[in-house]
Amino acid sequence: MNGVHIQNISKKYGSVTALQTISLNIGDGELFGLIGPDGAGKTTLFRILTTLLLPDSGSASVCGLDIIKDLKEIRMRVGYMPGRFSLYQDLTVEENLSFFASVFNTTIADNYELVRDIYVQIEPFKHRRAGKLSGGMKQKLALCCALIHRPDVLFLDEPTTGVDPVSRVEFWDMLDKLKRQGITILVSTPYMDEASRCDRIALLMRSGVCLSVDTPEGIRRSFNKPLYAVRAKNMYPLLEELRNYEGTLSCYAFGDSHHLTLKSYKKDIIHLQSYLKEKGFTNVTIESIEAGIEDCFINEM
């Protein structure tokens, strides 16, 4: 009932394609993630679903309401947190929250228990102007404001961008709690590591192509080749050399190691080891690892 159904939505800005025939079905009470780099059309999709933009073609419904015809009803029932901090910087934390509560014809007191867990963290600063809050605090306040009218569906556009790692983890903990209250949540993020906290995710590519939709686990399992993490003393020359290696299918730098897939494995691993030794690399380790979301993403591209 409180699901979101998207059918063949396309959107262009002039000659730039933002979304290409996207179709998604998000179930009631699901925590659904849109994962993709900047320019993948995540914000455009959110704006279409929140009735702020009209799609060029295709149709969509939120809570069973049509995004074009039932504009007013949808606006009563969704909560939206834009990617950019969109609260009043010259109003205090408390004033912002009570303003947005009254815009939705409710009060802080009415829905306090819904936002309590989040609000207690910013309450010590309730008399501070919103513009003077730190990044993480701002996002928590914005989430409170988007939640204060107890929406059925919550749209969060890159809520953790520009937020420190600790606050990011806290933020996702809050989303878990909200999900347990039965709120359908659509969240977008460019961070692949956050994808595993969603029930299901859609991988979006630049210019709005949807690569795959599955549970994070399912997406990881769909990675059907053995994956190796390779380390050595000189990491940068190692990347060059691995890419030059004849048996290499793909190789990318991933933090402290290089993730490598091979054309044909088993025998190649031993061959690769001697190849690298020959090239003068020391402390070479090659270990077999599980693919992460990011590996899948790069692989699908």
């Binding site: 834009p82 009043y88 004033e95």
Partner: protein, 349 residues
């Protein structure tokens, strides 16, 4: 209604917390009145003049005394021949000369390099000397209506009111609405049950209030500082001002629907609103002297009609029935502009 009330409260927070803008908004009318009243004046004060007296009559001295007694003229010297007058004019030492012939003919000479000033000087002198002139062979035929001392304040007080109201209502409202777009808060407001018309009304209300405060400030200053009497009904003046402010608000709203940045809104407000008010409303330059094309353009400047109506009421003391045309035009402008901007107001991004 509670929705609307808290929106207005929010607007007041914005305005009151922006101390600099607030100060400018409240001080601007005072500064403008003082500037126009004392610095930028088209009045002539302490103009030096000379007298060439060929009649050797005591009445000439009475003339000089009367001119001297006014604040507009000071005697530069007495001269004995016409060449001296010419020299003094050329050197720019004097602005006017009185020549009394042996047969008691009175001639007033003025330096017409600035024709407006010359005309004004002669009119001033005639007005001042009117009681004396009958004894000379000189018949005074000019009679100045309503502004016998030709006080420019009579002209610019309604002008400043027209200017301030446009500035605050149109510019501040358009900038205020566009700011919401620029800051991204409009995005959140649109995805809410708040009706767009409430958003706009709530934006406009505080500025309407501030502009009323400004009108009262201007009226007080002009009454007690510049001594411009308010002859007609003060309520009619205030009512007219509210109507004009509504026109200005709807103009600001229209501007906000066609711009996306505060800078653009500000620029358009200046070019489309401020300049026409200053140049085409009759506040500074008389409309009658403009080429016909500018006269036609001046008809669509709301300030023109407001200034005409306020002058009629405030200075001539006329009643509402005489300014029905102006009221009608302003009301029509308000309805048209509001309809246009409501139609243009985007309910989406």
């Amino acid at each position: 209604m509670r929705q609307f009330g808290s929106f207005i409260r929010k607007e007041f927070y914005h305005i009151l917390r922006d101390k600099r803008t607030m100060t400018i908004l409240l001080l601007m009318p005072i500064i403008l009145i003082i500037l126009f009243g004392y610095a930028i004046t088209t009045e002539i004060k302490q103009s030096p003049f000379v007298v060439l007296d060929n009649s050797f009559d005591t009445r000439t001295n009475q003339l000089i005394e009367q001119l001297q007694a006014s604040e507009y003229f000071t005697l530069y010297s007495k001269v004995s021949n016409v060449e001296e007058i010419e020299n003094l004019f050329r050197q720019g030492k004097i602005r006017m000369a009185l020549v009394v012939s042996p047969t008691n003919d009175l001639q007033i000479l003025a330096d017409a390099t600035d024709p407006n000033e010359a005309a004004a000087l002669i009119q001033y002198a005639q007005a001042i000397l009117s009681s004396q002139l009958s004894t000379f062979n000189f018949q005074l035929s000019t009679h100045l209506l309503y502004n016998p001392q030709m006080k420019s304040a009579y002209n610019f007080v309604p002008g400043v009111m027209g200017l301030i109201l446009i500035l605050i209502c149109a510019m501040m409202t358009s900038v205020g609405i566009v700011k919401e777009k620029e800051m991204g808060t409009m995005e959140v407001l649109l995805v809410s049950p708040m009706k767009p018309v409430y958003i706009v009304l709530a934006k406009a209300t505080p500025y309407l209030l501030i502009s009323l405060i400004n009108i009262i400030t201007i009226l007080l200053l002009s009454r007690f500082l510049l001594e411009v009497p308010i002859v007609g009904s003060i309520w009619l003046v205030l009512g007219l001002s509210v109507l004009y402010a509504l026109v200005a608000l709807s103009l600001g709203l229209l501007i906000s629907t066609i711009t996306d940045t505060q800078q653009a809104a500000m620029l358009i407000s200046w070019v489309v609103l401020m300049l026409p008010v200053m140049l085409l409303s009759g506040m500074i330059f008389p409309i009658e002297n403009m080429p016909w094309i500018l006269q036609i353009i001046s008809d669509i400047v709301p300030a023109k009609w407001y200034i005409i109506a306020v002058k009629d009421v405030m200075i001539k003391g006329l009643g509402a029935e005489t300014i029905l045309k102006e009221i009608g035009i302003l009301a029509l402008m308000f309805v048209t502009l509001t309809a246009l901007s409501v139609k243009r107001f985007k309910i989406r991004l």
